[in-house]
Subunit: 210 residues, 2 copies
Amino acid sequence: MIRLYYAPGGCSRAPHIALEEAGADFEAVRLDFQRGEQRGPEYLAINPKGRVPALVTDQGLLTECVAILAWIAQSWPQARLAPLDDPWAFAQVQSFNAFLASSVHVAYAHVSRPGRYADGADAAAAMLAKAPEALGGFFALIEAQLADGRPFVHGDGFTISDPYLFVMTGWVFGRSLVDPKAVPRVASHHARISERPAVIRVLAREASEA
Amino acid sequence: MIRLYYAPGGCSRAPHIALEEAGADFEAVRLDFQRGEQRGPEYLAINPKGRVPALVTDQGLLTECVAILAWIAQSWPQARLAPLDDPWAFAQVQSFNAFLASSVHVAYAHVSRPGRYADGADAAAAMLAKAPEALGGFFALIEAQLADGRPFVHGDGFTISDPYLFVMTGWVFGRSLVDPKAVPRVASHHARISERPAVIRVLAREASEA
């Protein structure tokens, strides 16, 4: 039994896509963040962090996108979602994903969830004002890292970095925090990933009635 | 050739300790953050992120603590710094480290480097005011995760999570952002790790003249 707790539009979309790409047999359990379900006693008993994604298997609970994505890649090796036999190449995948988690996602969260970092409307406004600068710098680094003419983050093969970047670009393009024209390779990557059947399935599931 | 770029007191201390624990042959290269060396053209040519840690090997550059620590564990398997043969247990190590990187380190950085997230003294004060609440919640989760009577984060064996937690606790205890009395297992862990020969060597190197 594998159960993925997710919130529509959340970063849980990345492991959700990875599970689909892996051909995993899993149950996707939606949480309603509008109603604060992630902070309710029922969910906190499952995941004390009160966040998504959370993956529950027969072995227990696993949290944090970076760890869940790597575990999916290791658990379905035939899906080739990471270069499992090359520690250096695997480390580059982990490095890319860790950067998304601790720099890109965090910078975006200052816009989407300012109360996580400071209280008050003035502080929220100051954080909102800073976000485009921070995110612009981060996406310039990502743009430079994407090789011209190669379809995926790490080259010719789809990896667990691709759905994760796809989620982040969806966020920052969606709120006009980064201009797609400033990062054409990232924008092209986003369009390419959006057309994958696994991605289409996940977006349809997220959009369906609860 | 392995070269670790570090800043005294920075989170680079975690992979620095891990390399010592692994018995690796490496060169530690100090950056002077007071003089802004991490933003100078020489270092940016090595690591465009302008941060530490950065690991340079014959294969290239590797950044992000979470990825560097895992790579060290995989590259010196005889040091047993992670449960490499058990994907679920390995994922738990990665999850713990990812939480330190994207929640704990980030919350602390709002105190140590507020300008990363917002400009102005008022915003900095608001972020400083929020940090103890955020960090208190994170360390309560960590305290609950540490098993009573077992010496290390993941139980009886030292792993790459131990030096990383050690660095974070040093930060938050040092600035009185978390009260050690509120997290006795974490405090005991900190004292235990501080006595390891590898840790003593790294702290001495950081404290020595440049």
